[in-house]
Amino acid sequence: MAKRRNPVRLVVALSIAAVLAIFLIWTSLAGGTPSLQPSQLAGKTGEVGLAGIVVGPVDEAEDESRLEFTLRDIEGEATVPVVYTGSVPDLFKVGREVYVKGKLVDGTFVATPDSLVTKCPSKYAPES
């Protein structure tokens, strides 16, 4: 079978290359916000993403829409107190893994309002 230069092949190859290029550029530039765990917070200023396991007690302020709880490393002991205002997703519970954005201020993590997210729990994985 004679191998002729087929323009379609060239176009296809170029498109794939272009797509790959967009991929790599995007993920290296904007790709994902670093999500830290409590043990990695020390000394970080500015807004970061914090992930961890919710540890009680969970306090609801009497008169404001404010939640106070502690986040622990997913696989460790380090903890940090968190102060959060805004919507609390359904699946929030002591023992669940959550992700929240905010800043570390004087040893307390002050969360950006409405940034609390619980991972869709794997209802199949054993409760760790």
Binding site: V8, V12, F23, T33, L36, E62, S65, K123, Y124, A125
Partner: protein, 664 residues
């Protein structure tokens, strides 16, 4: 009773193992009786799995807490419907459902194509058996639903978020989809194994593929509706890995569905098709793996789940097997026909494949990247909606454009002139719509505006297709408009059913852009009697109340709704605190305006001791078009799938000679 269940699973495992081993030998050596025996083993395995399933259902119905599974997932207070649905709400039970549907589908597919499998595609039995073997292995060795314990007084109850009709229907729909994809995969690989490159495997599995794809797509939408109502953050799709897990195989299956048409009509894209079907199947396994293994939370918790590593291993085996088969058959597979022009229907299908696969790969990368980053750099990242939204637009909009151009461009080589003539009207309508929307303020979301313009373009081409087709039929027939129309659709079910499905995608687009690009919201704290205003709505908080429900303490804020000054109704939003599960869930208030398709969406964030309430009031325009799209989608797919007696006769005649010739 659990012993019967366990025994049934062990029996199933043995039977499937037999089917795989003996089936492989029979296919390799060409032994008819051995193959028949292996096939029977597959049928018997289905019966055995059925017995195991009945045992589990019975245990659930009786609240038999001596079964660890029942105790973990149900409680005495749980309503009956949900108790039975607990069959698939946990790991082990869902694996059992998988196996049940798989052995059922395998038996049906083989039984319906008995002669074909026997004479031509013997490897179908061991291959599909191989997949079943994996699940049977998991159920017997690693994750049995029949583990027993000392029965506690009451069970732990079902996760409150799962106590919702959509969440009940969602897993079975997805499994029907995933398992359904196993059938074309098995037939395709069997065809390759027997060194056959004709389209027969495509033809016999066409409706399986279409059905599986429909279930999968509908399942994704059910999940989205659940997320919208239950998780209630105001949105409908969060690009969460578990959502993407089902979307990826659906996208690749979409590509496959379209691409096989080119093989049927032009005998091209053969290599693409086997890669796509294997890819769709592998992604459905991967999706199942993602939602079960805990790998999403952290790559380190991955090994804590017992079945994660097994799944990954199995996916690797499937991938290696498929790749090996495809590569060794590549010379035969390669089409002899060359694509002549970049502007042709063949090319349009090729672009379709490329964009869909690109989108699926992008999503895959978004899901894997955090894990890769953590494993390689030790830095966990989270990939958010902006990444996915960007690529959904970059790849999605061209796909919408293709939906409009594809049906109209000619095969082999399209003349730009006739293309321009065909697309004159759609382009005109699209531009008019675009200008109108721009004037109406839709410019606030440029991507949305483009999306709507393209949507109008596609809808116009679809309407024109129906009109032109009906007119053409009427001109050669003797009947009126309706017989011409119904005859047109009846004679070309795939094409016109497909057009309806395309229309549903446009509806989905319109709805998604509406809620994504043009929604508005406000957060307020209201005392009794105070109001909040969002869009054309005014919401007045009239007070709150509490009551004890079946399994939860329910507190609700009562609201009166005014639109454009007129009172239009009341609604409630609040929280449920579940007793057994010790968890609180948001019960959002949704008021749907059917005429406008928009939702007034209220989340009660917080109830304060002084009687005031913190509310999040959102207006989601056009969101109900998304759900309507789901219904239209199923309708279109049903039309496309509808059995066609004429077509069946033609195909039967084509294949009647086979086998008989062999024996002559």
């Amino acid at each position: 009773m659990p012993e019967l269940g366990r025994a049934a699973l062990v029996a199933a495992f043995g039977l499937i193992l037999y089917a795989v081993v003996v089936g492989s030998y029979a296919a390799w050596r060409g032994r008819r009786r051995l193959l028949d025996s292996a096939t029977n083993a597959l049928f018997a395995a289905f019966a055995a799995v059925g017995v195991a399933s009945l045992v589990l259902l019975a245990a659930l119905a009786r609240n038999d807490f001596s079964l660890d599974y029942v105790a973990r997932l149900t409680s005495r207070e749980l309503p009956n419907g949900y108790t039975l649905a607990a069959f698939w709400s946990g790991q082990e039970g869902s694996l059992l459902l998988w196996l049940f549907v798989l052995t059922g589908a395998a038996s049906a597919a083989v039984a319906l194509n008995r002669r074909l499998v026997r004479e031509v595609l013997p490897w179908t039995v061991p291959i599909i058996g191989g997949v079943a073997l994996f699940f049977a292995f998991l159920l017997v060795v690693v994750a049995s639903p029949f583990d027993t314990q000392a029965a506690p007084a009451d069970g732990a109850g079902m996760n409150p978020s799962l106590q919702n009709p959509y969440m009940i229907a969602h897993p079975p729909m997805l499994y029907l989809g995933y398992v359904g994809l196993t059938v074309p995969f098995a037939f395709a690989m069997a065809a390759l194994a027997s060194r056959r490159v004709d389209e027969r495997w495509i033809v016999v599995t066409r409706r399986w593929t279409l059905a599986a794809w429909t279930f999968l797509g509908f399942g994704v939408l059910l999940g989205a509706k659940w997320a919208y109502e239950e998780v209630g953050w105001g949105g409908w799709y969060a690009w969460d890995p578990v959502e993407n897990a089902a979307l990826m195989p659906w996208l690749v299956a979409t590509a496959f569905l379209h691409s096989v048409m080119v093989q049927e009509k032009k005998d091209m894209l053969r290599v693409w098709n086997v890669i796509l079907v294997a890819g769709a199947f592998a992604l459905s396994l991967f999706g199942t793996f993602l939602t079960r293994s805990g790998v999403i939370s952290s790559i380190h918790s991955f090994t804590q789940s017992s079945i994660g590593p097994f799944f990954l291993g199995f996916i690797a085996v499937v991938a290696a097997f498929s790749i090996a088969l495809i590569i060794t058959r590549l010379p035969q597979l390669r089409s002899k026909t060359r694509m002549e022009s970049l502007v042709s229907r063949e090319a349009a299908f090729l672009y379709n494949n490329l964009f869909l696969v690109a989108l699926a790969l992008t999503i895959l990368w978004g899901v894997i990247y955090p894990l890769v980053s953590e494993a390689v750099r030790g830095v966990a990242v989270s990939v958010g909606a902006p990444y996915y939204d960007f690529f959904a637009i970059v790849f999605g909009l061209p796909l919408v454009l293709l939906m409009g151009i594809g049906p109209v461009v000619a095969w082999r080589r399209a003349s730009l002139r006739s293309l321009a003539r065909q697309l004159a009207w759609p382009t005109g309508v699209a531009l008019a719509v675009g200008v109108l929307l721009l004037a109406g303020g839709a410019g606030s979301s440029p991507a949305g505006l483009i999306g709507y313009t393209l949507g109008a373009f596609v809808l116009t081409t679809i309407v024109l297709e129906f009109v032109r087709g009906t007119r053409a039929r009427k001109s050669i027939g003797t009947g009126g408009w309706w017989p011409a129309f119904s005859g047109l659709v009846a004679r070309n079910r795939r094409r016109y059913g497909g057009y309806v499905v395309h229309a549903s995608i446009v509806l989905l687009l319109v709805g998604a852009v509406g809620i994504g690009g043009f929604s508005s919201s406000r957060e307020v704290r209201l005392d009794r009697g105070e109001a909040a205003e969002v869009g054309d709505y005014r919401v007045v908080y009239t007070g709150s109340s509490e009551q004890r429900g079946a399994n939860a303490q329910e507190v609700r804020a009562h609201l009166e709704v005014f639109r454009d000054g007129e009172r239009v109704g009341t609604m409630e939003a609040g929280k449920n605190s579940y007793f057994a599960e010790e968890q609180t869930s948001n019960e959002v208030g949704i008021r749907t305006d059917w005429l406008r398709g928009e939702d007034l969406f209220v989340i009660a964030d917080r109830f304060f001791a002084d009687g005031s309430v913190q509310l999040d009031v959102i207006v989601n325009p056009l969101v109900n078009l998304i759900w309507l799209a789901g219904l239209v989608f199923v309708l279109g797919a049903a039309v496309a799938m509808w059995p066609d007696a004429r077509e069946q006769r033609r195909l039967a005649q084509r294949f009647a000679g086979e086998g008989a010739l062999a024996r002559a």
